[in-house]
């Protein structure tokens, strides 16, 4: 079974927020709520500085605390691709998952359910990339099967130094950032 994940090249990324805007229009997220976001980290003292820009979202973790804490089973790992998803009809809006997520990737939808990035499963099932990946003008984002050594994402990870966000949380995130 495929284990789908994302590899993002921080060298190419300019933090333009196209991924954020594309997610918003593709998924019609409520005003003021976003499933993805950008972090900008500047280090050093002027003029000797460095900056890391990252497009972040739900990490669709291999060990997802949001799933294990969910009292109703609404938060679940999808059988195909290992996406972490929410069945909104089963969600009671208790916010346990919001609290458990080390990435702060979830919000409570105004209609009363927990909502977050779906890796655009509705697109991926049709053979398309997630909206954020397909829109990116710098082509810094890649999506594919982390278990397939021949996939683009696997080859990128094998060839470049990379990191994940908060690996120490033990959630085994599935988004990697090339340095």
């Amino acid at each position: 079974m495929a284990r789908l994940g994302m590899v993002i090249d921080t060298r190419r990324c300019v933090g333009c927020m196209d991924c954020v805007v594309a997610c918003k229009t593709e998924n019609q997220t409520p005003e003021g709520m976003n499933r993805d976001w950008i972090t900008y980290a500047t280090r050093g003292r002027y003029p000797r500085l460095s900056m890391t820009i990252q497009s972040e979202r739900c990490n669709h973790c291999d060990n997802p605390p949001c799933v294990s804490c969910c009292p109703t089973g609404a938060s679940h790992v999808h059988e195909w691709g290992g996406f972490v998803l929410v069945t909104k009809e089963e969600c009671i809006g208790c916010k346990a998952c919001l609290a458990s997520c080390p990435y702060d990737a979830r919000y409570l939808h105004p209609d009363g359910y927990a909502d977050k990035c779906t890796f655009c499963i509705h697109r991926v099932e049709k053979g398309q990339d997630p909206a954020c990946v397909s829109v990116c003008p710098t082509r810094c984002m890649h999506f594919g099967d982390l278990d397939d050594p021949e996939s683009e994402v696997s080859r990128l990870l094998a060839s470049r130094k990379h990191h994940a966000v908060l690996p120490e949380a033990g959630t085994k995130p599935r988004i990697f950032y090339l340095e």
């Binding site: 805007v21 976003n34 003029p47 829109v135």
Partner: protein, 731 residues
């Protein structure tokens, strides 16, 4: 790590959003989605081209059950390569914007009070035509001037020419790229143009001087910038601010503002002094090289150091790096170039540096763009104006190749060389685009007629006598885009959805106005479809083909000298002019010289401004999608300076300029990423127009603080980085 949590991010980006939403990106907007016939079901896609900026990327819009859903890049498009920028992606918000103008408005009280009476199009255009004819009778047709921005102004320009006025200008010249283009025209005999003919994707070394690609989101350029980074090109960035581009650079040069010419001269000094320039290229194509070489002789890196703050070793090392990669070293000419008033000479210095590197006409430098031949519509000849253009009397600015907005403004105030009594303003917010708002308002007070055509009620609309609401780009046909690029193409903009109220397309407005002015003979076509099809048939195409495909491209012709493009230079010497006799003849420096910019009052910071990737000028802040991405600007202040002043990130401050003008409150960003002698903000915020409800009072306007400007003596551009501010904590 300076990690912004998602919730905090939401607080920042969603602050103060004015439309309550329960579901959907824009919430429920009653009235907007009322079907005009049977309810449409299912998905349909429509190819068109974007209007969120002037880049004109080709796009495909998707409509779901009759409601606009999303807009994506057209994969066949050489400009977007199938990927729009965030503004283009957020273009759906332009259609849904609840701050849109909905019906024609007539002023109901004194100018600038923004009190209106809604009228019909017949009344509004009747009023405009009557006033224009009155001005024509009293002062001549030349007394009506057009200010416009973008391709949408095409038909209004046509109507104004038919009316008999030669006066039409865009801020994109004298407030933006004009000096750059003048500098390149003086050197190579050709302007850079738009889209820029920069071959970034093939550059092995890219030099950016104040140009902040990545924040400045010109789609193709940013895509190629990422390609250049990905392929390991050397990036050199000179900027007083550690921009996104600077963060990608091998060499970041923290230059003192206003000293770019000194750096450029020192770079040229090294290339000439160390014999690193392209001798063969210079010998074959250069004119006046010896005189040029002796001019740059004194300007060593050691000379430049105290001026620029850039260490001599760094200047030498970067110059050698540029030479190592020539001719695939591209010293980017920038775009918004109106900084200090000697900007055409800075543009020329950039052109000369490129000439030394042999990059003009070469792969990885500047290519020769091409366009398709799509014949113009056969209109009757325009009447010959009795008087010449008003903006540049007696060629006061001898190297201006386009009309100067601020020249028209000055003529309006002074009545010289002749009176200007009517302004038609299309899609450009002159209050924020021109320097010194007070002068613009003084000019407006001298007018008998101010008409503004726009999508939202910007500040300039607030001063108008008549406001005409335009349909957005998603709701209208447009003039064809016959693009000048690597791969030539012709593209169509066509309606995707209906306008949301009583807005009309610019072509309709321009045509109806012409009819009311008795100029119907200048519009032999009845519908825009007829016009477009006629032009396309002239190129062996048809409207039906373009409606289906969006664009038709021609094969890429040779675009480099090495591919057989003949090197030709439309300069007086027919060569690349290292030494410019025509400049000397007019009393200017034949080779650029550095003049130290005047310092500000003690304790003040130089005011710098630039772009954000999610907004265009002052025209997108009410777009509900883009406002969610960025709803206000911040003022960047060096963190050490902030600490000295007891200020912290998030504090609200006001900026006061050297003339006592006080800005709106704005949030402070205390950061190491900027020099201590300047502050920086993103242009386009701090709106004051009542109609811009979503943007009103959000952030501060740099334009309001630009009360001073230095006019470029070569071409009339207005250098705007000559203002200084202090910060005051907002109680």
């Amino acid at each position: 790590m300076n990690n912004v949590s998602r919730r905090r991010f939401l607080k920042i980006t969603g602050a103060g959003a004015s439309v309550a939403a329960t579901a959907g990106v824009l919430g429920s907007l009653p009235g907007l989605r009322a079907a005009k016939g049977p309810v449409e079901k299912g998905i349909r896609t429509v190819p068109t081209f974007c209007d969120l900026c002037f880049w004109k990327c080709n796009a495909i819009a998707t409509v779901k059950d009759g409601v606009l859903w999303k807009i994506e890049g057209n994969p066949e498009d050489p400009l977007s390569r199938g990927r729009l920028c965030p503004r283009g992606t957020g273009g759906v918000g332009a259609h849904f914007d609840t701050d849109r103008l909905r019906a024609p408005l007539l002023r109901a009280s004194v100018r600038g009070e923004e009190k209106w009476t809604e009228v019909t199009w017949d009344e509004a255009l009747g009023h405009v035509a009557e006033k224009m004819l009155k001005i024509k009778a009293e002062y001549g047709p030349e007394a009506v001037a057009l200010f416009s921005h973008g391709i949408g102004g095409t038909f209004l320009k046509h109507t104004l020419k038919a009316f008999g006025s030669p006066n039409s200008a865009a801020p994109s010249y004298a407030q933006c790229r004009g000096p750059r283009d003048a500098g390149f025209e003086l050197t190579f005999g050709e302007a850079i143009g738009s889209p820029e003919r920069t071959d970034i994707q093939n550059a092995r070394c890219l030099v950016l001087i104040g140009s902040h690609l990545g924040e400045n989101m010109h789609n193709t350029q940013v895509q190629e910038f990422a390609d250049a980074i990905g392929s390991g090109a050397t990036i050199i960035v000179a900027d007083p601010r550690f921009s996104i581009a600077a963060s990608k650079a091998k060499h970041y040069l923290p230059i003192k503002p206003g000293t770019d010419i000194a750096l450029l001269l020192a770079w040229m000094n090294v290339l000439v002094g160390e014999g690193l320039y392209d001798k063969e290229y210079v010998a074959a194509h250069g004119f006046g090289f010896e005189a040029f070489a002796s001019e740059v002789l004194p300007f060593t890196p050691e000379w430049a150091y105290p001026e620029t703050g850039i260490e001599p070793d760094v200047i030498r090392e970067t110059a050698r790096e540029m030479a190592r990669h020539r001719p695939a070293t591209l010293v980017h000419p920038g775009r918004h170039a109106t900084w200090y008033g000697d900007d055409a000479q800075r543009g020329r210095a950039i052109a000369l540096l490129n000439a030394l590197l042999g990059s003009w006409g070469r792969k990885g430098g500047f290519y020769q763009p091409a366009s398709m031949n799509v014949p113009a519509y056969p209109y009757p000849p325009y009447p010959k104006p009795a008087r010449g253009k008003v903006d540049n009397p007696d060629h006061r600015y001898p190297f201006a190749s386009e009309a100067i907005t601020t020249g028209i403004r000055e003529a309006t105030i002074t009545g010289k060389p002749y009176p200007v009594k009517g302004w038609v303003v299309y899609a450009t917010n002159l209050i924020q685009a021109l320097p010194n708002e007070a002068e613009t308002i003084r000019a407006i007070q001298a007018l008998d007629l101010l008409v503004v055509v726009d999508v939202v009620g910007s500040e300039i609309a607030g001063w108008a006598d008549v406001v005409l609401p335009e349909a957005t780009y998603l709701e209208r046909y447009e003039e064809l885009n016959v693009e000048l690029f690597r791969e030539p193409f012709v593209a169509l903009r066509q309606p995707v959805v209906e306008p949301t109220a009583d807005q009309k397309p610019n072509w309709w407005i321009a045509r109806e106005l012409a009819v009311k002015l008795g100029l119907g003979a200048f519009y032999p076509w009845k519908t825009i479809e007829e016009y477009l099809d006629h032009r396309l048939k002239g190129a062996g195409l048809s409207l039906a083909v373009l409606q289906k495909k969006g664009l038709v491209s021609a094969p890429r012709p040779p675009i480099y000298y090495e591919e057989g493009v003949p090197p030709q230079f439309a300069t007086p010497s027919k060569k690349i002019e290292f030494y410019s006799v025509q400049l000397k003849d007019k009393g200017f420096d034949p080779v650029p010289r550095f003049k130290r910019p005047a310092a500000g009052p003690p304790g003040s910071f130089r005011l710098l401004f630039g772009r954000a990737p999610v907004h265009t000028f002052s025209r997108t802040q009410t777009n509900p999608v883009l406002a969610q991405a960025m709803s206000e600007n911040e003022v960047w202040l060096n963190a050490d300076e902030a600490e000295r002043a007891g200020l912290r990130t998030g504090d609200r401050v006001r900026l006061r300029n050297q003339d006592g003008v006080l800005s709106n409150p704005i949030k402070l960003k205390a950061t190491q990423a900027i020099r201590a002698d300047c502050v920086y903000l993103v242009h386009g915020f701090g709106h004051t127009a009542k109609g811009l409800r979503r943007a009103l009072g959000k952030g501060a306007s740099d334009a309001q603080l630009v009360t001073r400007y230095e006019t470029d003596p070569l071409m009339g551009g207005t250098g705007m980085n000559v203002n200084f501010v202090t910060l005051e904590r907002e109680a």
